[in-house]
């Protein structure tokens, strides 16, 4: 292997080009408009577990976007209607077989839809993109986050005590997890114990715990506890998509931003300025909508049946 050469074969790069063109055809047929929003912004993202990369522009910080979400929501609040963006996103320190700090994200929003309608469209899109001759239809399964845990551990993840979750996490990981937060314990248990046993095909997990809402609206489940209207898509066990029935309330949004920065401070991470333009847009009125982001590189990994993200990109960070 020479460092100057691409990580992906020419065959894989051709498939990549084909997939991007199929994505554009799909949305053109659905009358969803493409937008190419900026990747450089004056504001970063406050999410505790997503670290942006900060550049310098005329001496001032300029943030490479970790997703096109804030810009797209500002367009939605301006009344643009259904939109998609196929572009680059950046996340610091994410390097591994399934991660590259610069990656290609497909994100789209449907006005007036809920998250279940969006899951069904995502299923259609993935079926069309992965449609190989001679391969039978993609199997699509939907299961709630609570049922995943109930089946495996006999406990409800929304109602279980923190100490029960810490006990499970310590058993799955190592003793150092016994003092972790609820969200971290749930993520560890899910990644180590649930994810590897997901059925083949496309699996949607929905109704995530309230503490992992991110930018999703929160609702009360039939059983009385709160869940977030967030879902994730896994393709043959690989996480490929994350979506929400979007939070539209600017006051709640502001509260979450502030909470994020408190958590960042506690974790010794830099604090980012809150994106006030997004809050202004939400005050002016974000239409009820559902949105989802799909990792195109991950989809290609699954489609081409390769183990490393380096094999589906022209040049991963190792070669840049």
């Amino acid at each position: 292997m020479s460092d100057w050469q691409p990580g992906a074969s020419i065959h894989n790069l051709r498939r990549r080009a084909q997939m991007m063109s199929l994505v554009r055809n799909f949305f053109a047929n659905q009358s969803v408009m493409e937008v190419d929003v900026p990747v450089l912004s004056r504001s970063g993202v406050t999410d505790l577990n997503i670290d942006g990369i900060c550049a310098t522009l005329a001496g001032a910080p300029a943030y490479l976007q970790t997703s096109p979400e804030y810009f797209m929501k500002r367009l939605l609040a301006s009344g643009i209607g259904d939109i998609y963006c196929l572009g680059k996103a950046f996340r610091d320190s994410e390097i591994g077989h399934k991660h590259n700090p610069e990656f290609t994200l497909l994100e789209w929003y449907r006005c007036g839809w809920d998250e279940h309608q969006l899951m069904s469209e995502l299923g259609d899109l993935v079926s069309q993109l992965m449609n190989k001759p001679g391969v039978s239809d993609l199997r699509v399964t939907k299961v709630s986050y609570a049922d995943c845990f109930q089946d495996k551990f006999g406990l409800n993840p929304h109602q279980a005590s923190l100490s029960d979750l810490q006990g499970l996490a310590a058993k799955a990981g190592s003793s150092s997890w016994a003092g972790e937060t609820r969200a971290n314990c749930l993520d560890l248990i899910f990644s180590l114990k649930v994810e590897p046993q997901l059925p083949e095909g496309l699996v949607f997990i929905y109704d995530y715990p309230e503490c992992q809402a991110a930018l999703a609206a929160i609702t009360t489940a039939e059983q009385g506890y709160k869940v977030s209207r967030r879902f994730e898509g896994f393709l043959d066990g690989l996480e490929i998509a994350n979506g929400y029935f979007e939070l539209c309330d600017p006051i709640e949004q502001r509260r979450r931003f502030d909470q994020d920065n408190i958590a960042r401070q506690a974790a010794g991470k830099p604090l980012w300025d809150i994106d006030t333009k997004l809050l202004d847009a939400m005050r002016s009125g974000l239409p009820a909508c559902a949105g989802v982001a799909l990792g195109l590189d991950r989809l290609l990994m699954s489609d081409l049946e390769v183990k490393s993200i380096d094999q589906v990109m022209p040049f991963s960070w190792l070669r840049c």
């Binding site: 577990n49 390097i95 991660h99 990981g173 150092s176 971290n184 990644s191």
Partner: protein, 188 residues
């Protein structure tokens, strides 16, 4: 020793975990889209040889272990210790029985072995990949039976028992792969 963070974990790096020296075999970066990043790490405990699976939060660190592999010549044993010598400096090291236990059945005086030192003290000994040893005990050889398969156990001068072809006899010298314990050929 320096501390190593999870993003510096590489295959072959030696670290201390629960007071024991370990060698890192694999390190996988895992990160749920919205969650805390962590690393799934496979390590070999160099004292016990056991392979462990551990999950660390990304950014956690472990203390490096002062572990070094060195070629040394096996000199002799007094029954309690096994003595090895660095060929360049003639410096001698005493290895305990637990350090040599896995190598013992292959070890002849003068052999060049790999001695793994932890804080300067022999932790384990790896015999040469191939050794040539005399058969000291086996069933009588079946002359002429060289083409057929079939094998019989033979005890070698160092105590190892290996399967050898039927035509070999006591006093013959054989070449053995110490990693698999398999007979490689007869030495004329």
């Amino acid at each position: 020793m320096a501390n190593y963070s999870t993003n510096e974990f590489r295959s072959g790096l030696k670290v201390i975990l629960d007071n024991d020296p370990c060698s890192i075999l694999e390190n996988e970066f895992v990160k749920p889209g919205k969650g805390q990043a962590f690393n799934r790490v496979k390590l070999r405990n160099l004292k016990t040889g056991r392979v462990l699976d551990k999950t660390f939060k990304s950014g956690e660190s472990l203390e490096g272990a002062d572990v070094m592999d060195m070629d040394m010549q096996y000199l002799y044993s007094d029954g309690d210790f096994w003595c090895f010598m660095e060929p360049d400096t003639f410096e001698q090291h005493q290895a305990t029985e637990s350090a040599v236990s896995d190598a013992l059945i292959w070890l002849s005086e003068q052999d060049i072995c790999v001695v793994t030192l932890y804080n300067g003290i022999p932790l384990s000994v790896t015999p040469p990949n191939h050794v040539e040893l005399e058969i000291v005990e086996t069933d009588p050889g079946l002359r002429g039976d060289t083409a057929q398969g079939g094998s019989k156990p033979a005890r070698l001068a160092t105590g190892a028992v290996v399967k050898v072809p039927l035509f070999l006899d006591q006093g013959d010298v054989v070449k053995v792969d110490t990693r698999t314990g398999e007979y490689q050929g007869r030495v004329k």
